[in-house]
Symmetry: C2
Subunit: 334 residues, 2 copies
Amino acid sequence: MEINLEHGAGGKLTHELFNSIFYKAFKNKILEKAGDKAILRFGSTRIAFTTDAFVMAPKKVSGCTIGKLSVTGTVNDLLTCGAIPMYLSASFIIEEGYPIANLSEIVRDMSETAKISGVSIVTGDTKVVERGKADGVYVITSGIGKVIKNSNVSGSNAEPGDVIVVSGPVGTHGTVVMLARGEFGLYSSVSSDCCPLNDLVIPLIKKYGKKIKVIRDPTRGGLATTLNEIAKESKVGMVVEESKIPVLEEVKSACEVLGIDFLSMANEGIMVFIVDAKIKEKFLKDLRNNPKGRLASVIGKVVSDKEKKVVLSTSVGGERILDMAKGLPLPRIC
Amino acid sequence: MEINLEHGAGGKLTHELFNSIFYKAFKNKILEKAGDKAILRFGSTRIAFTTDAFVMAPKKVSGCTIGKLSVTGTVNDLLTCGAIPMYLSASFIIEEGYPIANLSEIVRDMSETAKISGVSIVTGDTKVVERGKADGVYVITSGIGKVIKNSNVSGSNAEPGDVIVVSGPVGTHGTVVMLARGEFGLYSSVSSDCCPLNDLVIPLIKKYGKKIKVIRDPTRGGLATTLNEIAKESKVGMVVEESKIPVLEEVKSACEVLGIDFLSMANEGIMVFIVDAKIKEKFLKDLRNNPKGRLASVIGKVVSDKEKKVVLSTSVGGERILDMAKGLPLPRIC
């Protein structure tokens, strides 16, 4: 058995790899709770810890560069822990012959994004590999944040009756990167949604505390994968109304032409929230008051379902099961 | 200007790259203090934070695999902060077509080394890149540890009068990896020193507290680079007696044949300590009582010198300046 590109697409095969190889070997409660982030306790302080490797190709698309993304991705990951992002590490794996000017540009983008996000890049490492053993440069960041008092978000906290909210249109980043590769002969004027979301998320956590049950950034594998992850972790089902899911018209048409579900495409500037139904209206209003959340929408609700299915009510009145992304060899989106 | 292999060798060119690109852009006090590790304060708790990318080629040499190294390197890095290593993250960049069985072996080695080191791998990420865009797999780990109370180690703490101690023979890991590549037609029966040093270092920190001024793992760039880094950070000079530096006979001869200074070769299982001269005898005895430190040696002393030179007293009675490693395109040693 060999690794194939779909193992890196974030969907079903990625999850299988995690379960069969990593979880089994590294077995510990923190990892099992949520593989892509960890909450560590030091006395009464809760520290969020997360890591991501960035191999995006191409390294620059409208609205996003690998430098911007490498900070944004980890900052947003920390936010999903209910944490204030504080410190980042940065490792670089660089191919021999890579122009130092390009490296400087990446580092400049990282620095600018760090400034906007209020984080410091406090430690790092650089390795060089021979020509043909990388693709220019790969950037790996890890992040540390302090979990906000009174916040308690976790993928396993969703309960029947809670509502599902997305903060903006879905599928944009993945579609923009895919089209930028030019393989499909389709072009688009849309920009990636890549953007650190501190100013959107932190005030909401401070205001609503434990009424926010889950926060997730639907990156690789898209909204479809994220909702299925939460359903599985919380042992619940979900009913989502297709017509309520915000999506940019251009993203939707491009995906239709290519026969790809935009719900499986990566996002880098939106969040999925599962919140107590009681705060629904106020929460949505607060989201929409921020330009980054102006297209926010309540897209469905959490239901009791032993089979942990995510059901999509389609606009034509039908229903279909929304599964984790699969069959999509879409690596290097992030 | 392009990145070349020497930029990744850990010596002079690596430092130049750090200073001209990274430090300048990411400018902050924590990074400036010591780029390859950070001490973060959360209330009265001091957290050590460090990261390393591992691109070792070949992935398996006598005594070391990329899996073992990826945990050992970060564990030892945390120890040099005076910290108890606690949590690790692990990111993988995997080339399409890489056998899952090999990935499992790497993960198994990581898991075993984590167990020995008392650390948990609590979070991770996996990315897949196309054939020809990596070399099998690269592993990136970040680590978090809790700084031991009463410990205060830093590269800038060395003072004239302090003594310099190494815990074991130098140059072994780098030489073993270089010979294993087979490029030079030289072979050796020596094993890498790769080994987590918790049981050697932690009791010493607890016992001697602030009398231990500096702890460093002389990895890429070897002892020569590490001593120069400390001299620079502490604004002191050093006098080192060549005859006191422990080195395995086979490592010494292999390096002689190749015209390489073993003092510039990477280590993965020894530490350099700068300690108060008053504890010299006891400290050395304690080191030697542990099998990992049985060849420990006091190799020299810290002196006052505005030019921050490291001077090597040679066995034949002469003196030479020991500079940071340079002119050695030796990437992918770790």
